[in-house]
Symmetry: D2
């Protein structure tokens, strides 16, 4: 399969992939009439396999079937929908290793993280099964005799999910597990550069639907580019579009969806900081910064990109970090011991280079790293940069393992620095003082959606709500009450008496 | 006061109004440098009083003070903020009659509704006091040992509230009561044509703040026009803008606010239907339709504008309705017995005339009403129109007492008709069958935010969430978990151990 | 295995049972030093297998290990505990058929119900897995600056579960699934007459614990009699005892547990009524009454024992019921087509006979049934009795398929009759009128814990809370917030500032 | 009024009290046929006024009226009931000072605490008003098509409240505010030694009921002794009895109520500890211990009775405490500057004396205090005792200002000491380490219902749930979901279709 020599690709067969693959699952059939694209191994830039993408005409066919399927799916009792999601979880569990391997191969993250990503969908399935008996509405006391007030949650119908390359399947999992138990069909467009993952996950879900004699169109999926994304954004049949990607593209998607009064669930750019206080457990902090800054080669939305060190521990922490950066094993993500894989594409490497140049021109001092590695793959050096908080680059998300380090003198200053960028996804503080912890998570603390203490900025659990404020888009996925976004709320007042009392005691006629 | 001869305006003094008034409450001071406008009595088109509007420069001064006040207000414990809102409620209660009278005078709704509107703010205050001890976050079990996961709710800082003439103060109440207990300052722009209400309510709130030695800038308010609205929409210091108005303007506000990654809470156009089934309690239905269609002279966002009658009871219901329409007393809203007051402005009357013309040109048959009344005021006849559901006018919100009547044969058809317009605010069915009730409130029932049974489309209680889907904008105000929109959610993971286990069991380094 | 000739018992091996079995799982070992008892097939009164029961000394050994294991189990993160429960669910799923068969064989219920009972534990496991990430505490706003208020839920330690023969494993499932994810060890005493089920379920759970290298003592189980039950009730190491059985024994258990300030979760006697209104769907009502009254041979706690028929449909419903009663197939519960199996024991048959005699002596008229069937097994005729609501027998729970029928004239009378017994478990009404439905479930309606409409009194779903009021004991199991009973709640106020403000504004010193 | 010369008792008239008073409010009338008792000022042991107590015959008359009133009250919409409670809150607010003064006079606590106690009822009223729109049931997804599952909360009918002398009105407030908005009538028996408070509070509530033309029997109250308490406990018309008092009497009440399958809400003895870690803010700790141990003369259920000091700060803390104890002003609670008032009765003084003797005989060393003061009143010295944790007296609640001090070496030991008594009400730790805080509030931390950090054991806010575990009785009052105890939960499944699918997929016939 493919021309890639560096890996044994036999495992792809286990998850239904071949050397050529069809990139559209439409009305329960594999079908795609678009151009043929290649899936490329970022470690070698060799082809893994080819995929035929879907066209906008394919999309329309898919959506018609999906709309029809929605009428069925939404009337199936939620716990029965939960049972389907449970079976999807079991199917994933049975293929955890090859799926995790595929994520590592096609996206470029290390195997442990590839498997972790698939595990996250499994966790989501397990969670959603329980949720399927808890999508509770409310019975609210009415001020009028012989009246009852209900808050009822009904399915939306169809949820569109547009995901990014860096979490090529977990984000689908966050959305699809919840959307499905909530009674919605799912329309998925995976990232253009990770089509094999899109296909593998879709196959597995489609098999569960088939085994249960349910319409395949309940889960409709497309490999494709911006035209499919645009079609989803404009489609009035899709009340909710969940989009993961940059703030720039997200803003466009939001505008398009809002123009038709649709809703968005946005997971956009992050620019996440770690603050290390003078009283911090330095060992814990250093390990965390290292994982947060170089893990996934800096390509998580929760990657730590800004580091604020109290002046008293500044040199110490930087020394220890530099030591780790120098020893870190960069290479094939499927090899044991590798901690840093390649950037995802050649254009990511170009971006890194442009970023480094901008850093230098804006007065940044490169403490370690800063170069592209000589290889066929997209490998770059994890980089630490000393720079002013005012530099323009510091306000932007550079999607690569580049860490900006800055010094501060007290908590207020550190929080102000943390909050001084447009993005508001994740943030973390290292401290041992309760008052610092509670200020950090309080009204005048971090303005992010994720506010950690003594752990990295990345590595969220599914039980909480994941997402961020400001230019990160405000969406919340996975746990807590995120499910409410996937449903339509109605406030129902039922008069079962024969009188007509009015609210606020109004007398009319 | 003013030149209006038709009413005794002495009561305006009780609530702090004079013949000239300053339309800006800025940094705790009454101040406004804009043009002088008149508040007009819609029953007579005579001037009640004059008001100096605020300018954009006034706005900027107000916002700077407000931003400063926000730092104080957000750190006051929520139950203490609740105590302030309780005092506001008591202050309103003490002035219920003159305030209700002012609403009737300046907006044009009948006195019972004017008092009901003020009562609604009082109810909101009482409700918000309790809420101030229940703005609960969550403690979520972490999958990692020695970790705790919190979901914390913090204040946003400042909430902008832009309200419309038809509920010139209740909508402020929905927003401000919740926003304040949640720890936010409020910036209010009232409707340009109801400045006296804006000033009267602001005075009363400002006095409570003063009595408690709190910065007046916690509540900042402006009489003014689109320039002030625009300034609010664009202002990065205002994370949430709550806007009530037409879908058209709302879409613009949303676009502007989203461009800066702010959030909107939209209460836009409705186009609300009542369905009467063959088994309905006809007496209850007729009374409800009448109140829903002619109440507030058809100027509620929840006014019933479309009526779907089962063919078997079509003639009967129309006969009874026509009878009521012919007898209804139209006139001075402050006079006893009046059920229909004037439209709010002369341009509303023009709009009504254009609507009637369009109806006729699109094949609508006017069953009763259809004319403007001869008078100095803005009085029009409540109107019933027989028309096809396909007519373009039926898809739009005509803000006047015009009711479109259509016939149907079965529940599915009636629900499809109900759902066939762009708006999705309120809807109601009259039936005595449980299966019809539960289908109506279920996944394939009404697609509106408010889904009633055996009561009118209007007259919501504050305990539920108020708002609508689709072109109505998706916002939810007042009860249920609406308060969450006024707060910033953060998911906090706290590691209190000395190890660094990762989520999803990932092993890194 | 055993001497029973009527069934192929080979399947018992699949679930780890032999002809002799050890009835104690203590500190991860199978061990029991009590007397040997036989498990008897109620269809034949032949022995299935023998079981050695545990002694009070065995109990003490088990509890010491369990107390030790509790320290470990409670500190394992809840989602990890959920993963164990998920594996238990999968293990049950793999043995659904033989386990269901065993329930039918040993308890005597028909196979469909036997399998349904095991399915219910599986459903509980799936539900509990989701719950393991949602055992949420609260963060409550404090009235004091620099204070936070938490409501935290911690494990109790050990939960004692004493179950009855009629649901020999489902009730364990309700309790154990929730207790385990909540962080508690479980001590189970199954019914003395269903030891094989106790052992089979315990084996399966113990294997999951072993596979995960967890202490076996997390799940400690005993076959035994009243001495073990008493030991549990008195044991100060067991903060919560969940007991299912008669009101009489339950009251004793409660007294014993309360004396040591322990807590009880009681599921006691029911005396459940169905009301059929004049407007009811008679076909639906008759099918429901039939299932509710004769299903499980009248040995469910939710069995319908009292039937209130509106006078206008009295004769019609009774006729249809009598027809069904005459045709119902009574016999071996493992045979296809059987709807009524045997009573569980010979003493149940004696009880039935005594009941029939008392009915007759109290003026009851037997409309159908009333006799014991000639056979080696414990078969009796399902019975319908016309009797006055005032008869003493009507106030008691006769654990057999005997249905008391009474006539009424209006809803108020029917509700009064429903509420006129000491028990308060389940109740059901058949009607098509919304006002009747809402009155029935409202403040002056049924006083039971389960209040159904147009379904039988039995057959609860796990998503709701199961249990009843008054002499039924007030416990609630399975869904909703039942989990809170398995945890210890603490209200924590944390001062992270350096001042000491007091609540209610008190000034001290 | 009365013969007390030490205070100006004119203020009693303001709250409706005279020199003789009737101690029963029965069916809306003041009426009592029992013996005449005197209310005594504990500072002087002089009579304040006399009160005629109610008899058991009066009780029966009251309960009959109350049962009748319950039928009305439970059908009034909850928000309307909330409005009544709001008016009660306003009535209390208007009399805050004289009521607080009466509490100080009759109970003996200092004026600031007397006013604080009344303020707590006012807070409860405000809270309950909001709650009256939030007594929400749930709509739970059913696994069966065309079925809906509801969890509905209905009123219990009547709630019995038996309160103790130390919080003669706040505990009534906790219970009555919630019970009333939940739709229950209240039957109150105040403490026999604080009849004037019982009467004053009842008067004020009765006036609100009267003003609203509601039956006075909604609130029924008795001054009386054990016979009235017993009557309440045995009364089948009272589904819930809320009892505050000693563990010993509480156990009796529980037994009596349970025998008739009623429910109890118990607030019994506490034996509350403060732990001071080596890293604590000593100043904060000392102030807190002082308030917790000597406040209310040691007569709060949350009074700190046990003090565990880390060995490294043992001497320092004791020194500072001893200093405060020596200077504390003991005397007339109505006088400015007094921090310690009298014990409530002469028998409390006897009890204190016996306690001191037992302490000495069990090896306790009195570090400061230990004597009764010479005076006409019931004044004793606040006392600090060094004693072994094993001494029998340390396991008991001595209701007087006696503090046992013990030394420890590490957190585990301190927690074990905290948990080593039968009672489980309140507990507190002083520390600055997050790991200590989270262990303390975690599964292996304090086993109490109230688990504080850096604040005293006493002084709870109403937003949380108040109450304790083990011999403290397990009840929870005031905030959180305490309201659920005052309601009857029903799980309702409504079939609105025409089929009869069964749960767990069972097929029957």
């Amino acid at each position: 399969m493919g021309s890639d020599q560096s890996n044994n690709l036999e495992f792809l067969k286990e998850i239904g992939l071949g050397s050529t693959n069809i990139g559209g699952f439409i009305n329960g059939q594999w079908k795609a009439n678009g151009s043929s694209v290649t899936s490329v191994n970022p470690s070698t830039n060799q082809t893994i396999a080819t995929v035929t993408e879907a066209t906008v005409i394919d999309y329309e066919e898919g959506l018609q079937a999906c709309s029809e399927a929605a009428k069925t799916w939404m009337t199936i009792p939620a716990p029965k929908r939960g049972e389907i999601v449970r079976q999807i979880g079991d199917a994933l569990r049975a293929k955890l290793d090859p799926l995790g391997r595929l994520v590592a191969l096609e996206m470029g993250k290390i195997l442990a993280e590839g498997i972790g990503e698939v595990q996250e969908i499994i966790d989501m399935c397990d969670y959603a099964v329980g949720l399927s008996r808890q999508l509770n509405g409310s019975i609210i006391p009415s001020e009028r005799p012989d009246h009852m007030m209900f808050e009822v949650w009904n399915p939306l119908g169809i949820v569109g999910v547009i995901t990014a390359f860096n979490f090529p399947c977990a984000v689908l999992g966050w959305n699809a597990c919840i959307a499905l138990v909530c009674g919605n069909c799912v329309v998925w467009k995976g990232a253009p550069t990770t089509p094999l993952i899109t296909i593998a996950i879709t196959k597995l879900i489609s098999e569960v639907l088939e085994r249960n004699k349910l319409p395949g169109a309940i889960f409709t999926s497309f490999c494709g580019g911006a035209d499919i994304g645009q079609a989803i954004s404009k489609d009035r049949r899709i009340p909710l579009v969940s989009f993961t990607g940059s703030s720039k593209v997200g803003a466009e998607v939001q505008k398009t969806v809002n123009e038709r009064f649709g809703k968005c669930l946005l997971e956009l750019s992050g620019n996440n900081a770690i603050i290390v206080m003078d009283d911090a457990d330095i060992k814990l902090a250093v390990r965390s910064i290292f994982f947060a800054a170089v893990g996934t080669a800096g390509q998580r939305c929760t990657t730590c990109r800004r580091l604020f060190l109290h002046e008293s521990i500044y040199a110490n922490v930087l020394d220890q970090l530099a030591g780790l950066y120098k020893q870190v094993k960069i290479g094939n993500p499927l090899e044991k011991g590798t901690l840093v894989g390649p950037l995802h594409t050649r254009s990511s490497v170009e971006n890194y280079k442009k970023g480094i140049a901008a850093i230098k021109s804006q007065g940044g001092k490169i403490l370690t790293g800063g170069s592209v590695l000589e290889s066929d793959g997209n490998f770059v050096q994890p980089t630490i940069v000393e720079i002013s908080a005012d530099a323009a680059v510091v306000k932007e998300e550079l999607f690569a393992p580049v860490l900006y380090v800055m010094k501060f003198q007290n908590l207020e200053e550190a929080i102000a620095l943390n909050n001084s960028v447009p993005q508001g996804l994740s943030s973390s503080i290292f401290t041992q003082r309760p008052d610092t912890i509670f200020k950090w998570i309080g009204p005048r603390g971090s303005d992010c959606g994720i506010v950690n203490v003594n752990i990295p900025t990345n590595g969220a659990e599914i039980g909480g709500a994941f997402g961020g404020e400001k230019a990160t888009g405000g969406g919340r996925e996975a746990g807590s009450d995120s499910w409410k976004q996937y449903m339509r709320r109605s406030t129902c007042t039922i008069n079962y008496g024969s009188e007509l009392p009015l609210a606020q005691g109004i007398n009319f006629g």
